[in-house]
Each structure stands twice: as C-alpha cells, then as structure tokens.
C-alpha cells in the first residue's frame, strides 16, 4: 500500500491510484488528483458528477459506472466523456475518492 500527497494531504492509495479511505478525501485532494489525470480545473459540472459519485457510493456501497452517473447526475453521456476525456469509468471514481467501479456499463 502506498501513501501519496495530494493538495498537501497524505492519503492512502491502492495499486491503481484509487483512495483506500473515502474519508481521507477533501475537495483539495480531488483538485490535485484531477490535475494528475489531465483535468487542469474542475468545473461545476465536474463537481456535480463527483458529488453524485460520492453520495451514491456511500448509499449503495458500490461506485457508480457511467450509465448510473448519466441516469442520475444530470449530465449526458457525451458531456461525461468531455468532462473526463481519459475515461470516466475510472477517473470519476479516482477523483471522487471512491473505489474502482465494478460496473461494466
């Protein structure tokens, strides 16, 4: 297990860079991870998606895949891919500080 420093905060991450503990997440951590995955600035739409991912994971126990995000977070599939161009399937979860989604859709 590795520790990384994002936005001045030390967090535990797994082999693929996902936060081990959602409780260690802060908006500052999110901003720093976003930069690392090629998103220089998080917009309101990014935050809407990230907040949904965190809430949904907390309530359902599973990180949402793109299909679930699009159904509930108020962004279209096209927008979601524009917001996270290097792959929303993984990157929403990474920036939101929740585990890698098991969803295939």
């Amino acid at each position: 297990m590795a520790t990384k420093v994002y936005g001045g905060i030390a967090v535990e991450v797994d082999d693929e860079g996902f936060l081990k503990k959602a409780t260690e997440w802060t908006p500052e951590v999110a901003k720093a991870i976003a930069v690392e995955v090629g998103i220089p600035a998080l917009t309101d739409k990014h935050w809407k998606v990230l907040e949904f991912a965190r809430q949904d994971t907390a309530s359902s126990g599973q990180s949402p895949g793109p299909r679930r995000i699009v159904a509930s977070a108020g962004v279209s599939m096209k927008e979601l891919y524009e917001l996270f161009p290097k792959g929303p399937g993984k990157l929403v979860a990474r920036v939101a500080g929740v585990p890698k989604p098991k969803a295939c859709l």
């Binding site: 279209s76 792959g87 929303p88 399937g89 993984k90």
Partner: protein, 155 residues
C-alpha cells in the same frame, strides 16, 4: 496506470442477440477506461446496426449446448422467441441497455462504428439503412489500415 494510447478494434460478425452484446460491452469498457475503441460490423454482424433489425435481434436455443433445453424441444416453433424474451427480461432486470441504446452510448462515448462494404453489398444495404451512429462504410482493407496498432477482437 494510464497507458499511453491503447486501442481496441472489435469485429462483430454475428447478428444474434447473444453475440451482439460481448463486442459492444467490450468496446464500451475500453472507452470507459480511456482507450480508443472501434467496432467493425461485418456479415451477420450488420444486423446489429441495421435500423430495421436492431430492435429485433434474436438468440437461438438451437445448437447451443449451454441452453438448458433438450435439442429436440429447442427446435420447436416459438422456442427461439421464448428464449429471446427470457434473455431480454433477464437483461432488463440488470438494467442492461437494449442494443440500440448501447450503440447510442458507444457513439456518445467516442467509439467509432464502421460497417463492412462487401457485406453491405451482399445484403443490398445502403448507409441510410443503418443506424445513424455508424460513422462510415469501409472496406476490409480500410479496416486493416484503421486498426493499425490496435488489439483486435473477433466476435
């Protein structure tokens, strides 16, 4: 972690419901993970993007040893429709989108969908007969060119 640009090229050559999903799901998964994905629909696979057929893809229980139905019964009239209905119902329960929606999602996700020119000629189809998500009708040689450097999956 983030590989440079991994690229998947998937060939869909079968038009039955159970053969449509694997290729589409894999292409979608590639885009979810941030990799390039293209899908080439050829032969019976063209049914998947044929506007008139896409909502009526079937699966056959015949010749399928995985189906829990004796072969003699599997060939009876109505069994194919029944097997198809059961599979669609199971997929609906899991909220798996129907094929038309899968194609829309794929195009929105930036996957490139292509139809095979020779198969189009064989089945007397034109571009207007296909769903609008198909980017182009291309030859086998075009596919080889476009899939340069890609990992190819044949379904």
């Amino acid at each position: 972690m983030e590989n440079a640009t991994r690229k998947l090229a998937i060939i869909c050559s079968k038009g039955s419901l159970d053969m449509a999903y694997p290729g589409l799901i894999l292409a979608n998964a590639a885009r979810m993970a941030g990799h390039d994905a293209m899908v080439f629909f050829t032969f019976w696979g063209l049914d998947i993007v044929n506007d008139k057929k896409v909502d009526h893809l079937h699966m056959s229980p015949l010749g399928n040893p995985s189906m829990p139905i004796p072969a003699m019964i599997a060939g009876l009239p109505g069994m194919e429709a029944l097997a198809t209905r059961m599979m669609v119902a199971d997929m609906d329960k899991l909220e798996i989108p129907h094929v038309r929606e899968m194609l829309e999602n794929l195009a929105d996700a930036g996957a490139e969908l292509y139809a095979c020119q020779l198969a189009m000629d064989m089945f007397k189809l034109e571009k207007k007969d296909l769903v609008p998500q198909v980017k182009d009708v291309i030859s086998a040689m075009d596919f080889i060119d476009k899939s340069e450097g890609a990992q190819v999956i044949f379904v």
